[in-house]
Symmetry: none
Subunit: 256 residues, 4 copies
């Protein structure tokens, strides 16, 4: 079985730092994010496309937008509890009190950072992908997974900070868990199971329990994205190759 997109020798141990076969850049010494201390970069790689924060939504003033971006940066960096609103204010270039004009409490600010991103991009985009599935009648499982993985990768890439904050803070805030409850359990899950069933009907997925199939895809996808963007964001990833490798594994394990 071939792994498309992998150049020959990609994974051989050569010179330079490597982790699990990934070549790492050699530029300086920074703390990664989730990640390991790497002889790495001083900056996170630039986001692809415009940095559409939650404030891109109409109705946010430019100042509120700045507060949101600053809050995202500081919450991601220090964690919610250790972040200080005054640092956020300073980072946003506004007075300390101004933050509270937009968000009555610090916790409101957290929710204001996280909620819009997920509300607008999690369920809706999954719905769009599945609608594509219905209309385009993907010829095989790999094609469907390819769309799914690319789309979610795009999402994490663009909303890296918000995703990171969500990962960090969810265990600590019932309000965030409530958000996932609504988004994942109430909206996403029925759709996901229905999709698996459809794929099984089309003969694209073998007859495992739909829940197992769904969770397996989710685990593999999430595992990759966390690793890709938070554990080793600085590494020399060949994203296409990685995605194809994952698809290979999933198709091998789940395909009919």
């Amino acid at each position: 079985m071939k792994v498309p997109g992998f150049k020959k020798g990609d994974d051989e141990h050569g010179e330079g730092p490597r982790v699990f076969g990934l070549k790492l850049p050699n530029l300086g010494d920074v703390d990664g994010v989730f990640g390991l201390k790497l002889p790495g970069l001083t900056k996170e790689p630039p986001m692809e496309g415009p940095a559409l924060g939650p404030a891109a939504e109409a109705g946010y003033t430019e100042k509120q937008e700045r507060v949101l971006q600053a809050a995202m940066a500081v919450f991601a960096d220090r964690g919610f509890s250790a972040a200080s609103t005054s640092e956020i204010a300073k980072e946003a270039g506004v007075a300390a009190g101004t933050v509270f004009r937009f968000y009555r409490t610090k916790k409101d600010l957290l929710l204001g950072v996280v909620t819009p991103v997920f509300r607008r991009f999690v369920a809706p985009q999954f719905v769009a992908a599945v609608r594509g599935l219905l209309e385009d009648d993907y010829e095989d499982l790999a094609a469907f997974l390819r769309v799914l993985l690319s789309d979610r990768m795009q999402f994490v890439r663009r909303h890296r900070l918000a995703v990171r904050i969500a990962l960090q803070e969810t265990p600590l805030h019932p309000e965030l868990r409530q958000l996932w409850q609504e988004l994942v359990v109430d909206e996403l899950e029925p759709l996901a199971l229905e999709t698996v069933v459809r794929l099984q009907a089309q003969g694209l997925v073998r007859p495992v329990p739909p829940g197992v199939a769904a969770r397996t895809v989710l685990s593999v996808l999430a595992g990759f994205l966390v690793y890709r963007f938070f554990v080793l964001p600085e590494a020399d990833w060949n994203d296409q190759a990685e995605i194809e490798a994952l698809i290979d594994v999933l198709v091998g394990g789940l395909g009919a």
Copy 2:
């Protein structure tokens, strides 16, 4: 292809709450941990085996042991930054000042909670598993993965709080990242790659880049464990069946 251990109908939608095909318990209403709000249990399921904290190590006084256990509970519950040393002291049944006899600062306490667990149980047990691989000459990939998954599952089950704290706090503390650097990058990774190469030489794993194989297994394993113990710890998991399903997927994708 069969999925061993799954009872027929396990995944069909019956009565009672379900998430991704998992039946959830129906006992009350509690917040999970990482997890979604479930019509769930009032208590986390009891740990299997004795609750061996880091303090089980020789040389810890009974008081220090109590401090460590309390710190684990409070750090896991509130997060490091929002946890107060005085609450830890109260939980441990010691005076506020006593905590600082054992650990000079709050951060030392965090490291004291996390470090020993991982130092003693991550690399050493992986080494043991691999040594088993060498000695026992696993007849197939599934057998190896079965040992690996079961062992790591055991680990997370027994050290749930420490693992949870590590997941929550790693992004926020360079000291913890340094710990992973030493454990994972320096100790575990060479061993892992070497193991993949050996399995490929035995004809048990097909010739994908060893790094890809290693990271895929890791992702699937981690994704499952996080889901199993932190996202939906209260659900009615059939662990053996889940493990076998994952092995199926991995063998399908990676096996020769």
Copy 3:
């Protein structure tokens, strides 16, 4: 000695809540003002006559009038220091900044609320009462006291909020004490003493030191009014009877 105006049995303990022999209304459960927690009314009894605030004075715009009324309500309710100018603005239906067009500081607003009421109604009306005394030649002390008490009762009834604010805030603001200095010490007191002397000359008051007589009347009057309007405003007062009872006491103690 009879107590005119008291109906027989007025003070006997019957059904319903009573305090010091006063029947209290039985409508619900509210906090009084100064007062005790009564099984009382949800609203203060309506003011008699039009609610003439200080702004009834010529030259106040309708907006300034609204600000004054709102300030009175909020200052009375929360106290000056705990009152926020933005709440006053909201209550008045104007923007936060508008308040400061009329009154440069919050304290100016306090003075603007209290001063006009007292400047216009304390000394002038006392002067009018005394002028009445001179012209009408009250035949007895009771008649004079009756006019005095009724008039002051009317005043407190109509300017309840301003009086309440004055009582609450005087101890805390030198500026208000200065106001009393001017009104009471400089204007009222000479007039009061002169009046006592005149009444003594007419044989209506016995020859106690004029200051003692004046302060006694003042104390009894103030004590009644505070009790009547601020401690137990909800009680079922028979004002005429109360006034006659007080006059009885005062005449008994001070009359010739």
Copy 4:
């Protein structure tokens, strides 16, 4: 009728500042308390007897005692809302945080200042006075009133600050109104009415409604004390003479 204790000419207009016939001291320029701006004293006159604050109660540490005294001084001076806990701390000579070891919130501190004083000295001492009435069989009304007025005067003199705070803050705090509810309505009032009835049975008070009699005495007493200690505390009061004058008035109005 003579007014015992009044020296001849006491109330004549002579040199020096006078208010309602009271000679005022001539020492400097201070703000009074409630009172009018007087050419007055730089300090409140020293309390008679030991300054028994609420902290005289067993179980208060010396530091807590200092905090209470400081809180009393600052609350009385600025009012609760405008008082800052850090000023109280400084005044007490402790660190800012120490205040909150004793009283979890600023409001607790207010209650801690006011409650003990009134709980211990209002109802109990009135009970004692009435018990005296029963045992000693006062020969006339004046003797009873003399004991009552002297005792309450003593109380206000010794607990001037606490009384002042209670007067200032009661309208603003439901918790304080609750305190009066318990002390005055529930405990004191039945006793007071019963006492009036007894005095009427003894032929010492004429048959007015007991509630009227009780409230009249209360009003006159409170009016005097407020005037004496808060409006014009600096004036040259002849307390015995004032009390006798008030007794004269009350006996004249209420006596049989």
